[in-house]
Each structure stands twice: as C-alpha cells, then as structure tokens.
Point group: C2
Chain length 209, copies 2
C-alpha cells in the first residue's frame, strides 16, 4: 500500500533515481558527473537541470580530493548551511560557515556601501575557504571571481547556482568563462537547495571513493 | 553599469517583479494571491508555479489573521526554518519550530517504525502549531491530514509543497481534496525554499495590512 511504500527513505530514493534515469534517457554526463546532476533533479523535480548543469574539466576529482583532505567550505546563505549534511562533512574532517547574517557583516557592508553577501564572502576567504557554494547572491559570485582574478584565493571548487532574474545568469556566465574549477547551472534557475544537494552528493562520493 | 544595478536589493526585487509580471501576463489569481505566486516564481525562476499553485477559498485572509495574532508555526525541515524571516515573524509575536533533527525524534521514530518527519510533525501539533509548512516530506503531510481528519488539529494554514518523485504529488492531491485551508503547488515540484517564500510573503502582507 501507499503508506508502506513511502516510509522507507532509501527505497524512495532508489525508486526516484530509477524514474529520473528513465525520463532523462541518454545524456552527455560521465560517471562522475551524472550522480550530481541526478541529485539536482531529485531535489527539484526539474529536468531543465539536465540541460543547464555544466562541469569544468576534472572538477569532480579535484573536489573529492579537497573534501577527503578536510576542506574548509564557505556558503552564501543559511539555507545552504542548513541543507548540508554536517555528519558526512565532519566524518571527512571538513567544516562549513556562512557569515551573511553576522551582525558585524551588516555593519561593515553599510559602511563600505556593498552587499552583505560581498563582505561575508570576503570573510570566508580570509578564513581559508577553498570550496564555495553560491546558491543565492550574484554579488558574492562576482566578488569571488574578482578575488580569484587577483590571486587572492585559489578555489578547489566553486558551486555557482544563484537563482533569479537580475544578475544571476550573468554571474554564472562569468564563472563559466573563467578558468576556475566549477559546477554551475546556466540560466536563471538555481537556489540554495541545489547548492546543498551538489555538496551532499560530493560528500557521498568522497566517502565511497 | 552592472555592478551598480546589482548592489541595491530592493531595486533588484522591483525589477524582478516587473519581469515576472510581464512574462506571466494575464493570470487567474486575485490581488491577495498574486504576490504569493510571484514570490514563488522570484524564488525559483520557474514559471510552472503560475500554473500549479492553488489556494483554498479565503485562505490568505485567514492566514494573515492567524499571523497577526502571533501564530505558532511548524515546518518540516531545517532549510525551511533557515529560510523564514525571523525578524518579521517576531515582530508579529509568532514563533516557528522544526523537530525533524531532534535526537529524541529519531529514537522515537525507530521505535514506532515510522519516519522522523511523522514523529516530528506530531510534536509540532502537540506544541499547538496552527500553521504548517511542509516543503519536503510527503509522510508529514499525510500525517497532518490524518490528524486533522480525526479532529486532533485545526490548522489555520497548510502550506503543502513537498518535492519529489514518490509520494509528493500524491500528498498534495490529498491536501487539495481536503477541506483544510491550503496553499499548495500541484505536481512533483516544490521544496523548502518555496515553503519559506510563501510564509515570508504572508509575513510581509500581514505587516502591511
């Protein structure tokens, strides 16, 4: 019966993945990339991401190596932070922070005349972050690109999935044109749940590998 | 220049809303409903929600009255909790909780042979929640419908937006067929960000009214 089917989370996930595999059919992703794209579709029920998701060459292997070495991660919203599996991250010795809601960040942003997301990202860089999850703020992604362009940070992975109508697609095109290691979704769509889903799938792969 | 445009969050929101209005064109929503649907589209960049979002009769007015009276809210994930504007909620005297990650909930779920989401929802009901935000777990929504059917809870609002391939659409159809006050998105799509966005827009409307 229905109640029986829906009470086993792992069975639901297997069934969902089989449905996604069947509906997508042939695709352009390799064996490292597809589990990540499938996780995004699982999180959103939106097959557009099979078209819009892009990987820079070798990015998954590099990201897994960084995660296995205990990466320091910065994310741009507290929703991303809430969505990341902390047990899996801690098991690999990693840590994650978000500073966008810190009171001193709001004060510094007002003083500097920039967004809180920019000030918060700079703090993440200062703390040694090497993996960046940007699910909301184009300004944070543009700032990261500027800092990387000046050699002030060398990311092991940039997850670039801001969502929205003004600046989001443009920020992802700038990341796409960069030489940084990225996973991104072109166009307007994206969001915090997708940023968290990408990292959670990488954490699963890192623990398996 | 681009940097100038994207640094004023309110200007970005106004411009985004104008783009959404223009792209959607004529629609079937009234003046109470449209700001909520527009907020969902703003959060996802997905115009499917202009088709799938449904409101029970009079639900927005009833929800605003409950929020202005200081509602007790339960949500099914910590991502929803992270996404809700706590300052706006506190200004109206409201509060919100999520129990899905509580250690005693996991233990009780194992013992009872049900999902953590079900045990956590029951705890929210026991604490007097009258507004429910279900962005992830079909089992939580089915359980809420069962409790309401037995008269054990009388919700002022059920936001029903679980996402996924197994059970999500079915749980929302069951809510759609109920006599509860609901805002829901039919089909597979939904998610925590949408649940939070709906409540955040209601909080804005409640403060304005």
């Amino acid at each position: 019966d229905e109640a029986g089917i829906i009470r086993d989370p792992l069975a639901i996930e297997r069934q969902s993945f089989a449905m996604i595999d069947a509906e997508v059919g042939e695709h352009r992703f390799d064996a490292h990339q597809w589990p990540i794209v499938r996780r995004i579709i699982h999180t959103t029920a939106d097959f557009d991401f099979a078209t819009t998701t892009c990987f820079s060459p070798g990015v998954v292997g590099r990201a897994l190596a960084a995660l296995r070495a205990g990466a320091c991660i910065y994310c741009d919203t507290n929703m991303v932070l809430a969505g990341v599996n902390k047990n899996r991250l801690a098991a690999l010795g990693g840590r994650i922070a978000c500073h966008v809601a810190d009171p001193q960040v709001a004060a510094a942003a007002r003083e500097a005349g920039v967004t809180r997301s920019i000030v918060a990202l700079r703090q993440g860089v200062a703390e040694g972050a090497e993996i960046f999850l940007i699910g909301n703020a184009p300004t944070a992604l543009f700032e990261l690109l500027a800092l990387a362009g000046r050699g002030e940070v060398r990311p092991a992975l940039v997850v670039g999935v801001p969502v929205g109508f003004v600046g989001a697609a443009e920020s992802k095109e700038a990341l796409y044109a960069s030489n940084l290691p990225y996973i991104l979704c072109r166009g307007r769509k994206g969001g915090s749940a997708i940023a968290a889903a990408i990292l959670n799938q990488l954490l699963i792969l890192a623990a398996e590998g």
